[in-house]
Symmetry: C2
Subunit: 314 residues, 2 copies
């Protein structure tokens, strides 16, 4: 099942079901994705049975599939990324036996083609391509083995970051407020079965193609998560119930052979440049710069659609 949200002037938009060829849509009898997630197991069979896609889809009309959420908990579980980031930010994190995770802004997700408003070019504006899992209600204390069944939808996210502020905030121990403004979401949320065998072991095993100002910047595969999405959910729910519609993020997709496949964020490339040449060469984003992100399957199709955005001054 492929879901999207049409802009309709409201904060939550209007849920639609999208045809397998992504060309047409049908209005959902449930008005919003949040409402659907609150009764997912009861509603999903009916939604999945809809095949009468009567309307032509113009992706320009689409908001983020979940334009706001009650909770956004973002992991950071690609080891090749984490190690480099520590080096760039200048922190030494202790070895831990659980997934890194922070709580981020969930009150708004930019749509896939929205201009992204940033306050200054001096703050180290960076993109972070990643995947996300959207869950229904998850009880406190759930184990990873039980968490898989709570993953109702998968999404693709750009977790915008302000690198100049990240180290400052991390050193307080309190996590990110300044350094993590609102994220963006690719236009389509899909049920895990839509990915076929590229959804396996609780991981989105797709190449995430990232283009920065029109040039290929990275094409890392989502598979090598040190912890799977079910493990991230168990991490998140250890001391709290997770409300339906909670979004769990993977953190920036990264592969150990990043010199070959490239990176999903600028900071990682700068880290490589520092290691290789003593100093970073790639600049962070400036106003007017663009980033495009598209995860592609073995057939070359993009199940989540495309994020294609420009950074502008707030």
């Amino acid at each position: 099942m492929i879901l999207a949200t049409l802009r309709d002037g409201t904060a939550d938009g209007r849920l639609v079901l999208v045809s397998p060829d992504y060309a047409r849509y049908a209005r959902s009898p449930v008005g919003t994705l949040q409402a659907a997630l609150e009764q997912w197991d009861a509603l999903a069979p009916g939604l999945g049975a809809i095949t009468d896609f009567t309307e032509a889809l113009d992706t320009a009309d689409l908001a983020a599939p979940l334009p706001r959420a009650w909770q956004w908990l973002d992991g950071s579980v690609y080891a090749s990324h984490g190690d480099l980031m520590d080096q760039v930010i200048g922190v030494t994190k202790p070895k831990i036996d659980f997934p890194l995770m922070y709580q981020g802004a969930s009150d708004k997700f930019y749509g896939p083609y929205d201009d992204v408003r940033m306050p200054s070019e001096e703050l180290g504006i960076d993109f972070e391509g990643e995947f996300g899992a959207i869950v229904d209600a998850v009880p406190m204390g759930i184990r990873a083995e039980q968490a898989l069944g709570h993953i109702k939808l998968l999404v693709q996210i750009n977790d915008w970051s302000l690198r100049t502020l990240a180290g400052t905030e991390m050193k307080t121990g309190f996590g990110f407020v300044w350094a993590k403004p609102h994220c963006s979401m690719a236009p389509f949320a899909v049920t895990p079965d839509e990915l076929g065998d590229q959804w396996r072991d609780g991981r989105v095993c797709l190449d995430l193609r990232v283009d920065f100002n029109g040039e290929r910047f990275g094409s890392a595969n989502g598979e090598p998560m040190e912890y799977s999405f079910p493990e991230l959910i168990a991490r998140a729910a250890r001391t709290r119930d997770l409300v339906a519609g909670t979004i769990i993020g993977s953190g920036t997709v990264s592969n150990a052979n990043f010199r070959e496949v490239g990176s999903s964020c600028i900071a990682e490339r700068r880290g490589i440049e520092i290691i290789d040449g003593g100093e970073p060469k790639t600049s962070f984003m400036r106003f007017g710069d663009t980033v495009r992100m598209e995860a592609v399957n073995a057939a070359g199709q993009a199940p989540f659609g495309t994020i294609d955005q420009k950074v502008v001054q707030a």
Copy 2:
């Protein structure tokens, strides 16, 4: 103006206006506090003009005034608390020239008399008495001088904490997920004018009386915030717009003469015990333990009402 939310089976409840003597209420023409906050300046005069409080108020029917919010950004700006906490947790934070702040769970706030579900007694269950400001929409980059006018309501909060996990998470730099489960809110949200001259310099200058298992534990005054609520709002909004209904927290109320006035959380008292005697004596909460919190004005009245809760096993 005094506002409260009646439980009605929905997640957001039903907004009501409460009489000056807290004995009666009138239904609000706007259904929820969130909806009211989204158009506050247009709606507040009409809400304030309501004087026909026809229904008897039973506080047992009340949820948190804002039972869920799109964003909860909690500061930590009482210096006497912060210094002690670093000692207890065993971290050395760098000196910073901005208010400490983290993003916490906002998808649910416990009502004032709800049992609070915790997964284990081994996690250092602690209360944290504090104050909060609820804003309407705040634009990115706002300065503190302009932020005062965006404070529409004040509330009283118990920011539940799991101390055993706090240090572990702080050391990652990513802030709190495990260590900060859902908070509780006292039953009444009030406009700043309700506090008279005890709302001054952007601070709630009330004594916060905290009783742990029926015994007075603390009575610290809210005034000595190192940064005011407007300064906290400017901190929060530096790189993001704040959605209407965002709640900004002060962090645990603490006074430099804590040996005389007591503490608003157990961890602080344990810190004092460590300094004075080498080891902590006061235990964290166990299942069945209770905490009561009430901020009182010069006349001995409690403008936010009372939080009175028991910790139970999840």
